[in-house]
Protein backbone atom coordinates (compact mmCIF):
# COMPACT_ATOMS: atom_id res chain seq x y z
CA UNK A 1 0.00 0.00 0.00
CA UNK A 2 1.26 3.43 -0.85
CA UNK A 3 2.10 5.80 1.94
CA UNK A 4 0.83 8.77 -0.03
CA UNK A 5 -2.10 10.35 1.69
CA UNK A 6 -4.83 11.56 -0.59
CA UNK A 7 -7.28 14.25 0.34
CA UNK A 8 -10.18 15.42 -1.74
CA UNK A 9 -10.09 19.21 -1.91
CA UNK A 10 -12.84 19.84 -4.45
CA UNK A 11 -14.90 18.28 -7.17
CA UNK A 12 -12.08 18.05 -9.66
CA UNK A 13 -14.06 20.20 -12.06
CA UNK A 14 -12.21 22.04 -14.81
CA UNK A 15 -12.39 25.26 -12.85
CA UNK A 16 -11.50 23.69 -9.55
CA UNK A 17 -7.93 24.82 -9.45
CA UNK A 18 -7.46 23.12 -6.09
CA UNK A 19 -8.73 19.73 -7.24
CA UNK A 20 -5.50 17.92 -6.40
CA UNK A 21 -2.75 18.93 -4.10
CA UNK A 22 1.02 18.55 -4.23
CA UNK A 23 0.66 15.71 -1.73
CA UNK A 24 -1.21 13.71 -4.39
CA UNK A 25 0.63 14.74 -7.54
CA UNK A 26 4.35 15.23 -7.30
CA UNK A 27 5.73 17.36 -10.10
CA UNK A 28 7.50 15.19 -12.68
CA UNK A 29 11.24 14.79 -12.19
CA UNK A 30 13.71 15.75 -14.94
CA UNK A 31 13.53 12.42 -16.77
CA UNK A 32 9.76 12.32 -16.59
CA UNK A 33 9.63 15.84 -18.05
CA UNK A 34 11.75 14.69 -20.97
CA UNK A 35 9.51 11.65 -21.42
CA UNK A 36 6.52 13.98 -21.55
CA UNK A 37 8.32 16.18 -24.08
CA UNK A 38 8.98 13.09 -26.19
CA UNK A 39 5.30 12.16 -25.88
CA UNK A 40 4.35 15.71 -26.88
CA UNK A 41 6.41 15.34 -30.06
CA UNK A 42 4.63 12.08 -30.81
CA UNK A 43 1.30 13.82 -30.28
CA UNK A 44 2.30 16.66 -32.60
CA UNK A 45 3.36 14.02 -35.14
CA UNK A 46 -0.02 12.34 -34.83
CA UNK A 47 -1.89 15.61 -35.33
CA UNK A 48 0.25 16.42 -38.38
CA UNK A 49 -0.42 12.94 -39.70
CA UNK A 50 -4.18 13.65 -39.52
CA UNK A 51 -3.77 16.59 -41.94
CA UNK A 52 -5.93 16.34 -45.08
CA UNK A 53 -3.00 15.94 -47.48
CA UNK A 54 -1.92 12.77 -45.69
CA UNK A 55 -5.22 11.12 -46.59
CA UNK A 56 -4.51 11.57 -50.29
CA UNK A 57 -2.29 9.66 -52.73
CA UNK A 58 0.35 12.31 -52.11
CA UNK A 59 1.26 10.47 -48.91
CA UNK A 60 2.17 7.35 -50.89
CA UNK A 61 4.24 9.45 -53.28
CA UNK A 62 5.99 11.03 -50.28
CA UNK A 63 6.92 7.57 -49.00
CA UNK A 64 8.09 6.41 -52.44
CA UNK A 65 10.47 9.38 -52.61
CA UNK A 66 12.32 7.94 -49.61
CA UNK A 67 13.41 4.97 -51.73
CA UNK A 68 15.45 7.11 -54.11
CA UNK A 69 19.18 6.41 -54.00
CA UNK A 70 18.90 3.55 -51.51
CA UNK A 71 20.22 0.04 -52.20
CA UNK A 72 17.66 -2.44 -53.57
CA UNK A 73 17.43 -4.27 -50.28
CA UNK A 74 16.24 -1.09 -48.60
CA UNK A 75 14.27 0.52 -51.41
CA UNK A 76 12.13 -2.43 -52.53
CA UNK A 77 10.16 -2.71 -49.27
CA UNK A 78 9.73 1.09 -49.31
CA UNK A 79 8.26 1.00 -52.82
CA UNK A 80 5.97 -1.88 -51.87
CA UNK A 81 4.82 0.02 -48.79
CA UNK A 82 4.35 3.25 -50.75
CA UNK A 83 2.22 1.42 -53.32
CA UNK A 84 0.09 -0.09 -50.58
CA UNK A 85 -0.42 3.30 -48.95
CA UNK A 86 -1.19 4.82 -52.34
CA UNK A 87 -3.97 2.26 -52.82
CA UNK A 88 -5.48 2.66 -49.36
CA UNK A 89 -4.41 6.12 -48.16
CA UNK A 90 -7.39 6.82 -45.93
CA UNK A 91 -7.40 3.59 -43.94
CA UNK A 92 -3.63 3.31 -43.61
CA UNK A 93 -3.01 6.95 -42.78
CA UNK A 94 -5.78 6.90 -40.18
CA UNK A 95 -4.12 3.82 -38.67
CA UNK A 96 -0.66 5.41 -38.70
CA UNK A 97 -1.89 8.63 -37.10
CA UNK A 98 -3.89 6.76 -34.47
CA UNK A 99 -0.89 4.60 -33.56
CA UNK A 100 1.15 7.75 -32.98
CA UNK A 101 -1.66 9.27 -30.93
CA UNK A 102 -1.76 6.13 -28.75
CA UNK A 103 2.02 6.17 -28.35
CA UNK A 104 1.84 9.77 -27.11
CA UNK A 105 -0.97 9.10 -24.65
CA UNK A 106 0.71 5.87 -23.54
CA UNK A 107 3.90 7.75 -22.68
CA UNK A 108 1.91 10.38 -20.82
CA UNK A 109 -0.09 7.87 -18.77
CA UNK A 110 2.32 6.60 -16.15
CA UNK A 111 1.07 2.99 -15.88
CA UNK A 112 1.75 2.41 -19.61
CA UNK A 113 4.96 4.38 -20.05
CA UNK A 114 7.19 1.32 -20.49
CA UNK A 115 4.88 -0.36 -22.98
CA UNK A 116 4.49 2.86 -24.96
CA UNK A 117 8.21 3.61 -25.04
CA UNK A 118 8.91 0.01 -26.13
CA UNK A 119 6.28 0.21 -28.85
CA UNK A 120 7.62 3.60 -29.93
CA UNK A 121 11.06 2.06 -30.54
CA UNK A 122 9.56 -0.58 -32.84
CA UNK A 123 7.32 1.96 -34.62
CA UNK A 124 10.14 4.50 -35.00
CA UNK A 125 12.47 1.97 -36.58
CA UNK A 126 9.68 0.96 -38.99
CA UNK A 127 9.08 4.60 -39.91
CA UNK A 128 12.83 5.16 -40.25
CA UNK A 129 13.01 2.45 -42.89
CA UNK A 130 9.64 2.66 -44.67
CA UNK A 131 9.00 6.38 -44.24
CA UNK A 132 12.43 7.96 -44.25
CA UNK A 133 14.54 5.50 -46.25
CA UNK A 134 16.91 5.10 -43.27
CA UNK A 135 17.31 8.88 -43.24
CA UNK A 136 19.27 8.68 -46.49
CA UNK A 137 22.38 7.48 -44.65
CA UNK A 138 23.05 4.88 -47.38
CA UNK A 139 22.43 7.23 -50.30
CA UNK A 140 25.54 9.36 -49.97
CA UNK A 141 23.45 12.52 -49.80
CA UNK A 142 22.47 12.57 -46.12
CA UNK A 143 23.08 15.94 -44.50
CA UNK A 144 22.59 17.07 -40.91
CA UNK A 145 21.10 20.27 -42.33
CA UNK A 146 18.32 18.41 -44.12
CA UNK A 147 17.56 16.07 -41.25
CA UNK A 148 20.05 13.18 -41.27
CA UNK A 149 20.10 10.61 -39.76
CA UNK A 150 16.30 10.89 -39.78
CA UNK A 151 13.91 12.04 -37.09
CA UNK A 152 12.46 8.58 -36.55
CA UNK A 153 15.71 7.00 -35.38
CA UNK A 154 16.11 9.83 -32.87
CA UNK A 155 12.68 9.01 -31.44
CA UNK A 156 13.86 5.43 -30.93
CA UNK A 157 17.13 6.57 -29.40
CA UNK A 158 15.36 8.90 -26.97
CA UNK A 159 12.90 6.17 -25.97
CA UNK A 160 15.84 3.94 -25.02
CA UNK A 161 17.76 6.68 -23.19
CA UNK A 162 14.66 7.80 -21.27
CA UNK A 163 13.62 4.25 -20.37
CA UNK A 164 12.31 4.26 -16.78
CA UNK A 165 14.90 2.13 -15.06
CA UNK A 166 17.95 2.79 -12.93
CA UNK A 167 21.13 1.27 -14.27
CA UNK A 168 23.04 -0.07 -11.31
CA UNK A 169 20.07 0.28 -8.98
CA UNK A 170 20.60 -3.33 -8.00
CA UNK A 171 23.93 -2.26 -6.66
CA UNK A 172 22.14 -0.48 -3.88
CA UNK A 173 23.63 2.50 -2.13
CA UNK A 174 27.11 1.70 -3.42
CA UNK A 175 26.07 2.38 -7.03
CA UNK A 176 27.41 5.72 -8.33
CA UNK A 177 24.79 8.36 -9.08
CA UNK A 178 24.09 9.00 -12.77
CA UNK A 179 25.94 12.08 -14.04
CA UNK A 180 23.11 12.94 -16.47
CA UNK A 181 19.60 11.74 -17.27
CA UNK A 182 20.47 9.51 -20.23
CA UNK A 183 22.92 7.58 -18.05
CA UNK A 184 20.17 6.47 -15.67
CA UNK A 185 18.77 3.92 -18.11
CA UNK A 186 21.82 2.58 -19.95
CA UNK A 187 24.75 3.72 -17.85
CA UNK A 188 27.14 6.60 -18.49
CA UNK A 189 29.65 4.73 -20.75
CA UNK A 190 26.96 3.42 -23.12
CA UNK A 191 25.13 6.76 -23.18
CA UNK A 192 28.36 8.65 -23.98
CA UNK A 193 29.15 6.17 -26.75
CA UNK A 194 25.71 6.77 -28.27
CA UNK A 195 26.29 10.53 -28.10
CA UNK A 196 29.71 10.20 -29.74
CA UNK A 197 28.44 7.96 -32.56
CA UNK A 198 25.46 10.21 -33.29
CA UNK A 199 27.28 13.52 -33.48
CA UNK A 200 30.40 12.09 -35.12
CA UNK A 201 28.20 10.55 -37.81
CA UNK A 202 26.57 13.96 -38.32
CA UNK A 203 30.05 15.45 -38.75
CA UNK A 204 30.85 12.73 -41.29
CA UNK A 205 27.62 13.39 -43.22
CA UNK A 206 28.44 17.12 -43.34
CA UNK A 207 31.67 16.26 -45.16
CA UNK A 208 30.16 13.96 -47.80
CA UNK A 209 31.05 15.06 -51.35
CA UNK A 210 27.42 15.87 -52.10
CA UNK A 211 27.32 18.28 -49.16
CA UNK A 212 30.63 20.04 -49.71
CA UNK A 213 29.93 21.01 -53.32
CA UNK A 214 30.10 24.81 -53.78
CA UNK A 215 26.33 25.34 -53.88
CA UNK A 216 25.21 22.29 -51.88
CA UNK A 217 24.32 23.99 -48.58
CA UNK A 218 23.01 27.06 -50.41
CA UNK A 219 20.64 24.95 -52.50
CA UNK A 220 19.51 23.00 -49.46
CA UNK A 221 18.58 26.18 -47.56
CA UNK A 222 16.98 28.01 -50.46
CA UNK A 223 14.88 25.01 -51.54
CA UNK A 224 12.95 25.06 -48.28
CA UNK A 225 11.69 28.63 -48.46
CA UNK A 226 8.79 28.18 -50.85
CA UNK A 227 5.42 28.23 -49.13
CA UNK A 228 6.88 29.38 -45.83
CA UNK A 229 5.85 32.59 -44.03
CA UNK A 230 7.89 35.56 -45.20
CA UNK A 231 9.97 35.86 -42.02
CA UNK A 232 10.97 32.19 -42.11
CA UNK A 233 11.67 32.31 -45.84
CA UNK A 234 13.84 35.40 -45.23
CA UNK A 235 15.91 33.52 -42.63
CA UNK A 236 16.43 30.67 -45.07
CA UNK A 237 17.32 33.01 -47.92
CA UNK A 238 19.76 35.00 -45.79
CA UNK A 239 21.37 31.76 -44.63
CA UNK A 240 21.59 30.56 -48.22
CA UNK A 241 23.16 33.86 -49.33
CA UNK A 242 25.71 33.56 -46.55
CA UNK A 243 26.99 30.18 -47.79
CA UNK A 244 26.59 30.77 -51.54
CA UNK A 245 29.61 29.24 -53.33
CA UNK A 246 31.07 28.46 -49.90
CA UNK A 247 29.94 24.85 -49.70
CA UNK A 248 33.31 23.43 -48.70
CA UNK A 249 33.98 26.06 -46.02
CA UNK A 250 30.45 25.75 -44.63
CA UNK A 251 30.73 21.96 -44.51
CA UNK A 252 34.11 22.05 -42.79
CA UNK A 253 32.94 24.57 -40.17
CA UNK A 254 29.76 22.58 -39.52
CA UNK A 255 31.69 19.32 -39.31
CA UNK A 256 34.16 20.92 -36.89
CA UNK A 257 31.35 22.10 -34.62
CA UNK A 258 29.68 18.69 -34.76
CA UNK A 259 32.96 16.94 -33.94
CA UNK A 260 33.47 19.25 -30.97
CA UNK A 261 29.96 18.43 -29.78
CA UNK A 262 30.63 14.71 -30.25
CA UNK A 263 33.69 14.93 -27.99
CA UNK A 264 31.71 17.00 -25.46
CA UNK A 265 30.25 13.92 -23.82
CA UNK A 266 33.71 12.95 -22.57
CA UNK A 267 34.72 16.37 -21.29
CA UNK A 268 34.56 17.46 -17.62
CA UNK A 269 31.18 19.02 -16.66
CA UNK A 270 32.01 22.72 -17.28
CA UNK A 271 33.42 22.01 -20.76
CA UNK A 272 30.67 19.47 -21.43
CA UNK A 273 28.06 22.13 -20.64
CA UNK A 274 29.68 24.45 -23.15
CA UNK A 275 29.69 21.73 -25.83
CA UNK A 276 26.07 20.92 -25.06
CA UNK A 277 25.12 24.60 -25.28
CA UNK A 278 26.79 24.72 -28.69
CA UNK A 279 24.86 21.56 -29.64
CA UNK A 280 21.61 23.25 -28.67
CA UNK A 281 22.42 26.34 -30.71
CA UNK A 282 23.47 24.25 -33.74
CA UNK A 283 20.34 22.07 -33.49
CA UNK A 284 18.11 25.15 -33.25
CA UNK A 285 19.87 26.91 -36.15
CA UNK A 286 19.57 23.81 -38.32
CA UNK A 287 15.90 23.46 -37.37
CA UNK A 288 15.02 27.05 -38.21
CA UNK A 289 17.22 27.80 -41.21
CA UNK A 290 17.85 24.31 -42.60
CA UNK A 291 14.58 22.53 -41.91
CA UNK A 292 12.14 25.48 -41.83
CA UNK A 293 10.62 24.11 -38.59
CA UNK A 294 9.97 20.81 -40.35
CA UNK A 295 7.91 22.55 -43.02
CA UNK A 296 4.95 22.63 -40.67
CA UNK A 297 4.06 26.27 -41.36
CA UNK A 298 3.96 25.62 -45.09
CA UNK A 299 1.32 22.93 -44.49
CA UNK A 300 1.88 19.27 -45.16
CA UNK A 301 4.81 18.74 -42.77
CA UNK A 302 4.67 15.24 -41.31
CA UNK A 303 6.84 15.89 -38.27
CA UNK A 304 8.86 18.69 -36.68
CA UNK A 305 12.08 17.09 -38.08
CA UNK A 306 15.28 16.50 -36.13
CA UNK A 307 15.77 19.92 -34.47
CA UNK A 308 13.55 19.48 -31.39
CA UNK A 309 14.70 15.87 -30.97
CA UNK A 310 18.36 16.91 -30.93
CA UNK A 311 17.52 19.55 -28.31
CA UNK A 312 15.77 16.88 -26.20
CA UNK A 313 18.84 14.69 -26.57
CA UNK A 314 21.06 17.55 -25.39
CA UNK A 315 18.86 17.98 -22.31
CA UNK A 316 19.12 14.25 -21.60
CA UNK A 317 22.91 14.58 -21.54
CA UNK A 318 23.09 17.83 -19.59
CA UNK A 319 25.40 17.22 -16.59
CA UNK A 320 23.58 17.16 -13.30
CA UNK A 321 24.66 19.73 -10.71
CA UNK A 322 24.43 17.23 -7.89
CA UNK A 323 23.79 13.49 -7.58
CA UNK A 324 20.56 12.66 -9.45
CA UNK A 325 17.87 11.45 -7.09
CA UNK A 326 16.63 7.95 -7.71
CA UNK A 327 12.89 7.80 -8.23
CA UNK A 328 10.40 5.09 -7.64
CA UNK A 329 9.93 2.47 -10.26
CA UNK A 330 7.39 2.73 -13.08
CA UNK A 331 3.78 2.94 -12.05
CA UNK A 332 4.57 4.70 -8.84
CA UNK A 333 2.54 7.70 -7.90
CA UNK A 334 5.48 10.06 -7.63
CA UNK A 335 7.17 12.13 -10.24
CA UNK A 336 9.81 9.69 -11.27
CA UNK A 337 9.44 7.22 -14.10
Amino acid sequence: MSEIAVTQRGTGAPGDYRAITPAEWAAPDARRRLQLALGALWLLDAILQYQPVMFSRAFGQMLAAAAAGNPDLVSRPIIWDARLVGQHPVVLNAAFATIQLLLALGIAWRPTVKAALGASVVWSLGVWWFGEGLGGVLTGTASPVSGAPGAAVLYALLAVLLWPRERGAAGGASAAPAPFIAARAVGAPAARAVWLILWASLAYFALLPANRAPQAVHDMLSSLTSGEPSWLAAIGQHGAALVAHQGLAASVVLAGLLALIAAGGYLPPPAARLALAVAMVVATAIWVAGQALGGILAGGGTDPDTGPLLVLLVLAFWPARGPMRRERSAGGPRGGQ
Partner: protein
Protein backbone atom coordinates in the same frame (compact mmCIF):
# COMPACT_ATOMS: atom_id res chain seq x y z
CA UNK B 1 -10.30 24.64 -42.74
CA UNK B 2 -9.89 21.48 -44.74
CA UNK B 3 -10.03 17.93 -43.51
CA UNK B 4 -11.67 14.57 -44.14
CA UNK B 5 -15.37 15.02 -43.44
CA UNK B 6 -15.65 11.73 -41.58
CA UNK B 7 -12.84 12.77 -39.24
CA UNK B 8 -14.48 16.16 -38.69
CA UNK B 9 -17.74 14.35 -37.96
CA UNK B 10 -16.15 12.05 -35.38
CA UNK B 11 -14.41 14.96 -33.65
CA UNK B 12 -17.60 17.04 -33.71
CA UNK B 13 -19.49 14.16 -32.06
CA UNK B 14 -16.79 13.93 -29.37
CA UNK B 15 -16.98 17.68 -28.80
CA UNK B 16 -20.77 17.59 -28.47
CA UNK B 17 -20.48 14.73 -25.97
CA UNK B 18 -17.85 16.74 -24.09
CA UNK B 19 -20.07 19.82 -24.06
CA UNK B 20 -23.01 17.75 -22.82
CA UNK B 21 -20.83 16.27 -20.09
CA UNK B 22 -19.59 19.71 -18.97
CA UNK B 23 -23.19 20.96 -18.94
CA UNK B 24 -24.22 18.00 -16.80
CA UNK B 25 -21.42 18.86 -14.37
CA UNK B 26 -22.81 22.37 -14.08
CA UNK B 27 -26.29 21.05 -13.31
CA UNK B 28 -25.35 18.19 -10.99
CA UNK B 29 -22.73 20.08 -9.03
CA UNK B 30 -24.63 23.38 -8.78
CA UNK B 31 -24.85 23.02 -5.02
CA UNK B 32 -21.19 22.12 -4.51
CA UNK B 33 -19.23 24.09 -7.05
CA UNK B 34 -17.57 27.40 -6.49
CA UNK B 35 -17.96 30.27 -8.96
CA UNK B 36 -14.72 29.47 -10.75
CA UNK B 37 -15.73 25.85 -11.33
CA UNK B 38 -19.15 26.78 -12.62
CA UNK B 39 -17.64 29.39 -14.92
CA UNK B 40 -15.05 26.98 -16.27
CA UNK B 41 -17.64 24.28 -16.92
CA UNK B 42 -19.91 26.76 -18.66
CA UNK B 43 -17.10 28.05 -20.87
CA UNK B 44 -16.05 24.48 -21.72
CA UNK B 45 -19.67 23.66 -22.61
CA UNK B 46 -19.82 26.61 -25.00
CA UNK B 47 -16.36 25.74 -26.31
CA UNK B 48 -17.44 22.18 -27.14
CA UNK B 49 -20.47 23.47 -29.07
CA UNK B 50 -18.37 26.06 -30.89
CA UNK B 51 -15.70 23.53 -31.84
CA UNK B 52 -18.32 21.11 -33.14
CA UNK B 53 -19.72 23.98 -35.23
CA UNK B 54 -16.29 24.78 -36.61
CA UNK B 55 -15.77 21.15 -37.56
CA UNK B 56 -19.17 20.56 -39.16
CA UNK B 57 -20.77 23.66 -40.67
CA UNK B 58 -24.42 22.70 -40.22
CA UNK B 59 -23.82 22.32 -36.48
CA UNK B 60 -22.70 25.94 -36.23
CA UNK B 61 -25.53 27.93 -34.64
CA UNK B 62 -23.80 31.31 -34.42
CA UNK B 63 -21.76 33.60 -36.69
CA UNK B 64 -17.98 33.59 -36.32
CA UNK B 65 -17.76 37.07 -34.85
CA UNK B 66 -20.18 36.20 -32.08
CA UNK B 67 -18.11 33.15 -31.17
CA UNK B 68 -14.97 35.27 -31.17
CA UNK B 69 -16.66 37.87 -28.95
CA UNK B 70 -17.89 35.23 -26.50
CA UNK B 71 -14.46 33.67 -26.15
CA UNK B 72 -12.85 37.06 -25.78
CA UNK B 73 -15.17 37.39 -22.79
CA UNK B 74 -14.00 33.95 -21.67
CA UNK B 75 -10.41 35.15 -21.90
CA UNK B 76 -11.26 38.11 -19.68
CA UNK B 77 -12.94 35.78 -17.17
CA UNK B 78 -10.02 33.37 -17.00
CA UNK B 79 -7.57 36.25 -16.99
CA UNK B 80 -9.31 37.58 -13.91
CA UNK B 81 -9.28 34.09 -12.36
CA UNK B 82 -5.56 33.81 -13.11
CA UNK B 83 -4.88 37.16 -11.49
CA UNK B 84 -6.91 36.13 -8.44
CA UNK B 85 -5.24 32.71 -8.23
CA UNK B 86 -1.86 34.38 -8.47
CA UNK B 87 -2.70 36.66 -5.58
CA UNK B 88 -4.13 33.98 -3.32
CA UNK B 89 -1.47 31.38 -4.14
CA UNK B 90 1.44 33.77 -3.69
CA UNK B 91 2.64 32.27 -0.38
CA UNK B 92 2.63 28.78 -1.91
CA UNK B 93 4.30 29.75 -5.17
CA UNK B 94 6.29 26.91 -6.63
CA UNK B 95 4.37 24.26 -4.79
CA UNK B 96 1.21 23.97 -6.81
CA UNK B 97 1.66 24.97 -10.43
CA UNK B 98 -1.47 23.09 -11.45
CA UNK B 99 -3.66 25.55 -9.62
CA UNK B 100 -3.68 27.99 -12.46
CA UNK B 101 -6.39 28.72 -14.99
CA UNK B 102 -3.81 29.48 -17.69
CA UNK B 103 -4.78 26.51 -19.91
CA UNK B 104 -8.40 27.67 -20.08
CA UNK B 105 -7.23 31.19 -20.82
CA UNK B 106 -5.12 29.93 -23.74
CA UNK B 107 -7.95 27.69 -24.97
CA UNK B 108 -10.24 30.72 -25.09
CA UNK B 109 -7.49 32.62 -26.94
CA UNK B 110 -7.31 29.81 -29.50
CA UNK B 111 -11.08 29.98 -29.90
CA UNK B 112 -10.80 33.70 -30.63
CA UNK B 113 -7.92 33.11 -33.05
CA UNK B 114 -9.40 30.31 -35.12
CA UNK B 115 -12.56 31.94 -36.49
CA UNK B 116 -10.77 35.26 -37.08
CA UNK B 117 -7.74 33.68 -38.79
CA UNK B 118 -9.84 31.51 -41.05
CA UNK B 119 -12.17 34.39 -41.86
CA UNK B 120 -9.21 36.62 -42.73
CA UNK B 121 -7.87 33.93 -45.06
CA UNK B 122 -11.27 33.31 -46.67
CA UNK B 123 -13.11 36.62 -46.88
CA UNK B 124 -16.70 36.71 -48.02
CA UNK B 125 -20.15 36.14 -46.60
CA UNK B 126 -20.32 34.46 -43.22
CA UNK B 127 -20.49 30.78 -43.93
CA UNK B 128 -19.15 29.62 -40.61
CA UNK B 129 -15.69 28.18 -40.24
CA UNK B 130 -16.63 24.62 -40.82
CA UNK B 131 -14.09 22.24 -42.20
CA UNK B 132 -14.68 20.19 -45.27
CA UNK B 133 -13.77 22.87 -47.73
CA UNK B 134 -10.30 23.78 -48.89
CA UNK B 135 -7.41 24.34 -46.48
CA UNK B 136 -7.76 27.65 -44.74
CA UNK B 137 -4.23 29.02 -44.70
CA UNK B 138 -4.92 31.34 -41.80
CA UNK B 139 -2.94 34.41 -40.85
CA UNK B 140 -0.22 34.37 -38.18
CA UNK B 141 0.65 30.69 -38.69
CA UNK B 142 3.39 30.86 -36.05
CA UNK B 143 0.77 31.84 -33.46
CA UNK B 144 -1.36 28.89 -34.54
CA UNK B 145 1.65 26.57 -34.20
CA UNK B 146 2.51 27.96 -30.78
CA UNK B 147 -1.08 27.51 -29.61
CA UNK B 148 -1.07 23.96 -31.00
CA UNK B 149 2.19 23.20 -29.18
CA UNK B 150 0.66 24.58 -25.98
CA UNK B 151 -2.37 22.30 -26.47
CA UNK B 152 -0.09 19.31 -27.01
CA UNK B 153 1.80 20.14 -23.81
CA UNK B 154 -1.45 20.61 -21.92
CA UNK B 155 -2.74 17.23 -23.08
CA UNK B 156 0.47 15.53 -21.94
CA UNK B 157 0.31 17.29 -18.57
CA UNK B 158 -3.32 16.26 -18.05
CA UNK B 159 -2.62 12.67 -19.05
CA UNK B 160 0.34 12.55 -16.68
CA UNK B 161 -1.92 13.61 -13.81
CA UNK B 162 -4.63 11.02 -14.51
CA UNK B 163 -3.48 8.43 -11.94
CA UNK B 164 -3.25 11.15 -9.25
CA UNK B 165 -6.68 12.46 -10.23
CA UNK B 166 -8.09 8.94 -9.98
CA UNK B 167 -6.74 8.68 -6.44
CA UNK B 168 -8.05 12.12 -5.56
CA UNK B 169 -11.45 11.21 -7.00
CA UNK B 170 -11.54 8.01 -4.97
CA UNK B 171 -11.35 9.91 -1.69
CA UNK B 172 -14.62 10.91 -0.01
CA UNK B 173 -15.46 14.59 -0.36
CA UNK B 174 -14.29 16.70 2.49
CA UNK B 175 -13.32 13.65 4.44
CA UNK B 176 -10.09 12.99 6.21
CA UNK B 177 -6.99 11.97 4.33
CA UNK B 178 -7.02 8.35 3.28
CA UNK B 179 -4.14 6.21 2.15
CA UNK B 180 -3.90 5.81 -1.60
CA UNK B 181 -4.54 2.28 -2.73
CA UNK B 182 -6.55 1.56 0.40
CA UNK B 183 -10.03 0.10 0.60
CA UNK B 184 -12.38 1.06 -2.17
CA UNK B 185 -14.23 4.32 -1.68
CA UNK B 186 -17.93 4.54 -1.06
CA UNK B 187 -18.87 6.28 -4.28
CA UNK B 188 -22.47 6.61 -3.28
CA UNK B 189 -21.37 8.99 -0.54
CA UNK B 190 -19.80 11.34 -3.05
CA UNK B 191 -22.22 13.86 -4.55
CA UNK B 192 -22.60 13.57 -8.29
CA UNK B 193 -21.11 10.06 -8.44
CA UNK B 194 -19.07 9.33 -11.58
CA UNK B 195 -20.27 12.49 -13.32
CA UNK B 196 -18.11 14.62 -11.04
CA UNK B 197 -15.13 12.29 -11.34
CA UNK B 198 -11.99 14.39 -11.83
CA UNK B 199 -10.55 11.66 -14.07
CA UNK B 200 -13.48 11.92 -16.46
CA UNK B 201 -13.18 15.72 -16.46
CA UNK B 202 -9.48 15.43 -17.32
CA UNK B 203 -10.25 12.94 -20.11
CA UNK B 204 -12.70 15.45 -21.58
CA UNK B 205 -10.06 18.15 -21.46
CA UNK B 206 -7.58 15.79 -23.13
CA UNK B 207 -10.09 15.17 -25.93
CA UNK B 208 -10.72 18.89 -26.21
CA UNK B 209 -6.99 19.66 -26.26
CA UNK B 210 -6.23 17.11 -28.99
CA UNK B 211 -9.14 18.34 -31.11
CA UNK B 212 -8.17 21.96 -30.66
CA UNK B 213 -4.55 21.15 -31.57
CA UNK B 214 -5.79 19.46 -34.74
CA UNK B 215 -8.00 22.41 -35.63
CA UNK B 216 -5.14 24.84 -35.06
CA UNK B 217 -2.85 22.82 -37.34
CA UNK B 218 -5.58 22.92 -39.98
CA UNK B 219 -5.51 26.72 -39.89
CA UNK B 220 -1.85 26.72 -41.04
Amino acid sequence: MGGPSWLAGILAAIMIATAAYCASRVVIARGHQRGAERGANLVLTVMGVAMAGMLVSWLNPLPDRLWAGMFAGGMAWFGWQAWRARRTAAPERGRAPHRHPLPHLVMCGAMVYMPLAVRAARPGPETGIAMGGSAAGGRFPLLALMLAVFMVGYVMWQADRLPALARAGAAPTGGPAVPAGGDGPDRSARPGGWVLSPTLAACCQIAMGVTMGYMLILTL
